[in-house]
Symmetry: C2
Subunit: 328 residues, 2 copies
């Protein structure tokens, strides 16, 4: 079986190292912080003393460091002459593809992003069950762009991930970045804008303290993620600016249309129609009905599956097909 | 002690009738639905057979019917010749003040709005503890507008409410409507817009199903209230259009500024600054430090308290002062 090296043993990397180990996959971990390496070794994980040492043992390397640390680790892999499969867990994909192309040209890179997390961080917070049931975006390009060897690498990583009981979601880097702009980055911006409007003196009225006192469940949930560190949220949103900008334009257009309807002769009827699409989308989320089926393991078929909201649950041993789930 | 009639015995009215009864206040309830009256009687509440019968017994009448039913009940109170104090629990206030002025001129109306609720509805869902600790907006006008007798009526209702361990929050009708536009109605609009953007085919991309599959905690919380009945949300938002329109303009301005910063030379630094006010507002919400103090029972002092985020906890027996809490 392939050996997987996980570089960076924080919450996500540490959890992944332990989850792969629990699934019987040979692993080796590395973290730049000696104390983290000690913690991982104490948790019975095999730990390397350098990126080069970890990479030398692995057929698959997982970059599990924050985006600002990615270039340095790529340089270390280049120096070490690493030629195996490379994947990652970073929350934007197009910028990482650009970094890999610049720093490790020719790399067998398959961009990944698990939709999992916790309020806590670090190896001490790691949990081998963190990913169970979560969606894990795994990037590939359409057949016209993707080579057969890159599709094969995609299937290798997908096969590994299905052992963790994650939902492997095929997407192009652009599709991924657009989707997370909508479901993750836009909610951070609306949360910040809603919370800022309630700050004393911030509104067009002068009763910001009153608004905060009258805030209840709707306000609490709509603004929850505004409590996140602004620098981290800005890095996430700014790092995905190319995909976030059109998504934010679209959101502003929608709210501007709602504003126009407030001035309608019958604002209640006008707003009711405006509210229906969001209501229909939300009451059917998350989808509960799913149809399992088999799918040819081609880039185009996989991408169609991902666009429709489906995911891969297993990769056939001959790699010609996958078991997939399609929302009803 | 004053007798309180509660008209409308759904979740809020039924809970209020029972909470007042548990606090030792003489009460009588009425609901247009005979089955609801039977349920209330079975719960040992005293129940009238008509609005007129309930009003004849009461010094304080609480309108606890939905906004569309308010005009009819006001007409019944006018026919019954009711001359006592009138309050309500409706989620907007300026429109109800206008209805009262038109249908029951000269009424001793003190508009109220408890910030409490549940997913369920009806007397069967009522709970005498529903309001414990909740903010209860209670409206008055500045001294230049408010008469001494209306301030006295405000203090009467406030004194009753403090027996329920609610936080009695003074506000003008306009201030109330502006505040709930911000903390309740805007979150409904952003939830609907965010959810609509993830509907298949709705976005500028074609991967709506992908976005729904990648949605996790941020999406779940930011869109939760989009699952509410669109007609009810539209009635709430459209009924408060005068206050909601400028609040929505302000929100769109804030998001447009965020959009501009995505195009900055350093979008991460530009967004970090933009995110700070919302972060500061949210991490200090809800306020945990409170200073109890005494306050003169004047309209202007009470309104200043409310604007600053404070509330009344008790009314002095001589009605010259109140015990108040001020957030630190």
């Amino acid at each position: 079986m392939l050996t997987v090296a996980v570089l960076g043993l924080g919450l996500i990397g540490g959890s992944l190292l332990r989850a792969l180990g629990a699934a019987g996959v040979p692993t080796i971990g590395y973290d730049a912080a000696p104390a983290t390496r000690t913690d991982a070794a104490a948790a019975r994980c095999e730990v390397a003393e350098s990126v080069a040492q970890a990479a030398a043992r692995a057929e698959v390397v997982v970059l599990a460091v924050p985006l600002p640390a990615v270039p340095g680790v790529l340089d270390e892999l280049a120096t070490a002459g690493y030629r195996g499969i490379l994947t990652d867990v970073t929350s934007v994909k197009s910028p990482v593809y650009a970094l890999v192309a610049a720093r490790l040209p020719g790399a067998r890179y398959v961009g990944g992003h698990p939709m999992a997390g916790k309020e806590t961080s670090g190896f001490a917070a790691s949990d081998p069950g963190l990913f169970t049931g979560c969606a894990w975006a795994l990037c590939l390009e359409p057949a016209a762009v993707e080579s057969a060897s890159r599709l094969d690498d995609w299937l290798t990583v997908a096969e590994l991930l299905t052992r963790l009981e994650v939902r492997v979601v095929p997407a192009t880097p652009h599709e991924h970045d657009t989707a997370v702009a909508q479901v993750s980055h836009l909610p951070h911006l609306t949360a910040a804008a809603l919370a800022a409007a309630t700050a004393p003196g911030a509104g067009r009225g002068e009763a910001g303290g009153l608004a905060a006192t009258l805030g209840a469940g709707s306000y609490r949930d709509a603004t929850r993620v505004a409590a996140s560190n602004p620098a981290l949220v800005a890095a996430m949103c700014g790092g995905n600016a190319a995909a976030l900008a059109p998504a934010l334009d679209d959101l502003i257009d929608r709210l501007t249309e709602a504003r126009r309807r407030l001035d309608a002769a019958d604002p209640i009827a006008a707003l009711t129609e405006w509210l229906r699409p969001g209501n229909a989308a939300r009451v059917s989320w998350p989808p509960t009905g799913h149809t399992p089926h088999q799918l040819d393991a081609t880039a185009d078929a996989l991408l169609r599956l991902g666009r429709a909201g489906g995911w891969v649950t297993d990769v056939a041993p001959d790699r010609r097909g996958v078991a997939a789930v399609h929302p009803e």
